[in-house]
Symmetry: C2
């Protein structure tokens, strides 16, 4: 019998949980993005190294990510906008959690799709209205999820993923950010 | 004399500001990411359409973004992790702002680099320690910025970008997020 459910290696998932239980320090991670300005609102980030499970590591390959503004926001449209990357991060975090939680509960998924929308009033970042915040005013996530379990069980998998999502926590709660110039 | 500074079309930038001043509704934007689960912790987002300046629009091309976990987090490493996309979003937002603010102030930039690191203790998302949050505990941004202005002026450009950054606001303040399952 296969030990892979939803593409998740369930014994390895549980072994990882046990390993962290035995050595909580292993769970301390530091992620890094190195960004370089290209021109105008276009920049590119390199994502490769990260620290975790007690040592410095690298992804199997380096990932380059371009970001830019579209023409209507005075950019060259060389990549998604920074705020669109936030929506992708949220969708991807919740979806990874859905697959893991479903696998851990023995539910086989056949499809998971989500649409994430964010409303933003640029009077904030343009400095035209002090009563308008810079960032999103609200974000809405809509999932469709299919698998070999009743709707209520599938729904509870999404709920458990939300309750344990790193990106959901970052966006709905506050993270202290320091900005330094060398 | 060129009206382009740092790749920023400064007259268009100011014209955009004036246009929004005259019609504040134009600044209401809705961004969207459409995500599809692939396998395990791997998913892919499509970023193409967005609403702004009174109508539905599209980027000049569709952007596909893969996200995954590395092997040490029981994934296939098919893309950056969701939480790394957050760091990229923050770097890219601050950097776009730096270029715009510098251009508006007549400062020519020759280089802008940043490194963004985020510390996260996965005892939170693994559910092993109720005292540990799911998301980043702190995020640090370090900039190096070069251009035809004294260090103090360059530093103030970064500060102004931080003060007007959409992603900085989202991460350091709270955004309400709804999650629904159809």
């Amino acid at each position: 019998m296969s030990t892979i459910t939803n593409g998740v290696d369930v014994p390895t998932l549980f072994a990882t949980l046990d390993a962290v239980k035995a050595a909580p320090e292993a769970a301390k991670f530091r992620f890094t993005a190195m960004n370089e300005w290209k021109s105008g609102t276009h920049s590119r980030s390199l994502i490769h190294g990260f620290y975790g499970v007690g040592e410095q590591r690298t992804h199997e390959r380096a990932f380059d990510l371009d970001a830019d503004h579209p023409a209507v926001l005075v950019g060259q449209d060389s990549g998604p906008t920074p705020v669109e990357f936030l929506l992708h991060a949220l969708a991807a975090c919740l979806t990874a959690g859905v697959a893991n939680v479903a696998a851990a509960r023995g539910v086989r998924l056949t499809g998971v799709r989500s649409t994430v929308t964010g409303d933003i009033d640029l009077n904030g970042i343009l400095g035209l209205d002090p009563g308008v915040r810079n960032g999103y005013q609200n974000i809405a996530v809509r999932f469709t999820i299919e698998g070999d379990a009743p709707p209520e069980k599938l729904r509870s998998i999404v709920e458990q993923s939300r309750a344990r999502s790193a990106v959901f926590d970052v966006i709905t709660n506050q993270v202290p950010v320091t900005v330094e110039v060398d």
